[in-house]
Symmetry: C2
Subunit: 306 residues, 2 copies
């Protein structure tokens, strides 16, 4: 059994069982990959693939099991090389962060700013995507750290660290009638067209849940993937917005009014995820610490009633 055979297997799966593209990706030629796969199958003595003639179209049952361990092996191998570069170039390398728009725009800047001061030679890559995509990026090791609230606990292949807790606030144009109330209720929210996150994003699941449990039917006028889009439509008068409290920015959003909603909805926990047993370089661990420090204000903001 050779590492390159396993590498061929895993990239083959990532390339949807297209052997030619797998070869390209690995800087090899087609026959080499075919040979790897054949050797692996022979040595293990198990058919790994579902075939249609010569074409590979999927994994067999044992193929899936094999893939699981192959991923483990390659991930650990990557950790080994990481230990190497860690020693050769202490404060030098790449930090690949996966985050949603809201994280990248409202939460990460402070931590990244401090991080850059400490590690000016680390290249920071900010990969954006839906929470589901982020989980996949982390599992496939396309990012080192994935930050988000939803969907992260689904995978047993990831480890987590808790970063901060947050809740929602309401935003509305100046002098909107709903702003007359000090303490807003769920029922009042249902009297106006709402603008909030689409499902799968930023706590939308628990938001739906809360209305459902109260047997209330909110009018969702529009749902969007990120806070800036929501704000835009709130400004245009399409409705009132429900966004993450941390995404309201006093100085930028002086044309909007906000009201805390943490008495209505459950608190959400934002975590940082990375592949199980992944070797984290010093600056990666350091980033997690910084991120926790720089987001403490979120957990404490408006959270007296927590």
């Amino acid at each position: 059994m050779e590492l390159r055979q396993l590498r061929s297997l895993t990239t083959l799966v990532e390339q949807n069982f297209n052997v030619s593209r797998t070869a390209e990706k690995l800087n090899l030629v087609q026959p080499a990959i075919s040979q790897h796969l054949k050797q692996l199958e022979n040595e293990l003595g198990v058919p790994l693939f579902q075939r249609h003639g010569k074409r590979l179209i999927g994994l067999s049952q044992s193929g899936k099991e094999v893939l699981h361990y192959a991923r483990k092996i390659l991930s650990a191998a990557a950790s080994l090389t990481a230990i190497g570069t860690e020693h050769q170039q202490q404060n030098h390398g790449v930090l690949r962060i996966g985050a949603t728009h809201t994280q990248a725009r409202y939460v990460l800047p402070a931590a990244i700013h401090r991080f850059r001061q400490i590690y000016p030679d680390v290249e920071i890559q900010l990969h954006q995507g839906t929470p589901e995509q982020l989980v996949n990026m982390a599992i496939k090791d396309h990012v080192d750290l994935a930050i988000c609230t939803e969907a992260l606990d689904k995978s047993a292949e990831l480890s987590f660290k808790t970063i901060y807790h947050w809740n929602r606030c309401l935003i509305a144009p100046q002098q909107h009638p709903i702003l007359q109330h000090k303490q807003i209720t769920l029922k009042q929210l249902c009297e106006h067209p709402l603008i909030t996150y689409i499902f799968g994003f930023t706590g939308r699941g628990n938001l739906n849940q809360t209305f459902k449990q109260a047997s209330l039917q909110p009018q969702i006028a529009l749902s969007a993937a990120d806070t800036d889009v929501i704000k835009t439509y709130v400004r245009e008068g399409l409705g009132i917005g429900i966004i993450a409290g941390l995404a309201f920015n006093e100085s930028e959003d002086h044309d909007l009014q906000q009201r805390d909603l943490s008495h209505l909805f459950p608190w959400e926990t934002t975590k940082i995820a990375y592949l199980n047993d992944k070797y984290l370089r010093t600056f990666q661990r350091r980033f997690i610490e910084l991120f926790q420090q720089e987001t403490q204000w979120i957990s404490t903001k408006n959270s007296e009633q927590k």
Copy 2:
């Protein structure tokens, strides 16, 4: 990076940094191993060893980290080949069990008997040792499953399944004065010389703890690693014995009397341990199930007051 390099590293450590013996163990010649290690060091760019001239005497700090991941890789690689043999020889193979004497003598027989009926072609190896040795066997993958009560939770590299709960009983020769009492107390136990397990074995830790908390000083006349030795000396009149309740056998031990002591000491939990993420073949998983079934009587025996 090549698997054989990692294999050389891990066996080198197991062979106390003796390169020649490592070579023998791997059916290679010395220079081959030296080359593996040098290549690994060069590729990672990290010194892996502490050296005294040409001799290797230990791992460097990063060497330890590297070893950790190397073990992971090789363990996963072993799982891969196990998937292979599982498919080629379904009910055929080796089941390596690590157990203490007491387990092997009093608990395992029933499960092993049933197992043999179902899988006559599986070779069963019973490796005995102290709990600490068993943990090491499991971690180094010298046994597939390790059974014992103590020391198992120490290692984060092992996974556990709970099998049964047990407590102690007193054994004494016929007509020993202590047998007059129906419900024996700690204080009464201290009035006689005791014979029980040595430290590290079969719940000896919690036994000591219990006397200490009661500020009592038992007279331990003799302590032994296994139950049969204890019984022997009890028969000779050296003192009264405290053994695991499951190790009293009505038919064999008719010359001894027993009294339940589960009201005095904490219940112990016996678990089965295996290397994290180890691929368990069908018959291995099946053995765990059988073992749980065949030991249910222990958890319920005398446990009405539990």
